[in-house]
């Protein structure tokens, strides 16, 4: 099991970095995660758009990504553990695995289930990307299996991200 380290920097929304380091302390993988604890969205399309709004890509790319994620959801909804959903895809529009975590107290219609936690991630299309994609999928699957109920009832952003395996330390505000 590789040790994980997460560093946080704060801006308008919270950006989290998970770095996986090997035994020699060399960084071998770095995930970027964005988090919005209080989503205002009430539908699937709105929630995906709201989380994609955090992505460091332009509006046109966000729309294309929303289209791809929508297709993925239409052919098979990614709802796990009743109220957690994992919309994901691989796309040439991102150059690294990008994760956005969102939470809605009121619930989001997805479309026939009420869900509260959205973990959206998009992986790039390149040679080693499927490994990144499956590695992150395995990581999230393990955390949901272990802490599913607690993730659903997490009371704040820190607790939610802790449960998702984001060990972190706050650095400084930008």
């Amino acid at each position: 099991m590789l040790p994980r380290e997460l560093l946080i920097t704060c801006s308008t929304h919270t950006v989290f970095y998970i770095r996986e380091v090997n035994g020699k302390g060399e960084c071998i993988l770095k995930y970027t995660a964005l988090c919005k604890f209080e989503l205002s969205a009430t539908s699937r399309e709105e929630a995906i758009a709201e989380l994609l709004g955090l992505f460091p890509v332009g509006e046109r790319s966000q729309n294309l990504l929303a289209g791809a994620l929508d297709i993925r959801e239409k052919v098979g909804a990614t709802v796990v553990h009743n109220t957690i959903v994992l919309p994901h895809c691989r796309s040439i529009l991102v150059d690294k695995l990008t994760i956005a975590v969102g939470r809605s107290e009121a619930g989001i219609g997805w479309p026939d289930k009420k869900i509260h936690t959205v973990i959206l991630f998009v992986s790039p299309v390149r040679l080693n990307a499927p490994q990144d994609h499956t590695r992150f999928l395995s990581h999230i699957a393990g955390r949901i299996k272990k802490y599913g109920d607690k993730i659903v009832t997490a009371e704040n952003q820190k607790e939610l991200l802790d449960l998702l395996g984001f060990q972190h330390e706050e650095l400084e505000s930008r």
Binding site: G76, I92, A141
Partner: protein, 117 residues
């Protein structure tokens, strides 16, 4: 962005999705989580047909030809280079603010290029 270029990017992402459904490691993980749907592949292939129908025959032909040859037909431009073959792209094209308003291809490998916004 050029509408045909947008459709080609979406078609590329759809092809990746279809290819992923054939990858054992991804299928295994998704099945463990209960995310795999039996008819997903068929639905995606149907959607692909619909997408293809809305793309100009010229670009669709080029896309299919490039996919057969390289495996990826659409690539981003990175630091003024084609991400597929790393050839430096013409400066006049790269510096044009309207560069995504028409479809450009790499002068060396012929892949379809887009500029990330």
């Amino acid at each position: 962005m050029n509408k045909q270029l947008e459709k080609l990017i979406s078609l590329h992402d759809l092809d990746v999705m279809i290819a992923d459904l054939g990858r054992k490691d991804i299928i295994k993980r998704e099945m463990e989580m209960g995310l795999q749907s039996d008819d997903a592949l068929e639905e995606l292939k149907k959607l692909r047909e619909e997408y293809c129908g809305s793309i100009n025959r010229k670009w669709r032909g080029l896309y299919n030809q490039l996919t057969r040859h390289y495996g990826n037909a659409v690539v981003p431009a990175l630091m003024g280079r084609c991400a597929g073959c790393l050839t430096r792209l013409p400066t006049a094209v790269c510096s044009d603010p309207e560069r995504n308003m028409k479809i450009h291809t790499c002068p060396t490998c012929g892949r379809i290029i887009y500029w990330a916004d």
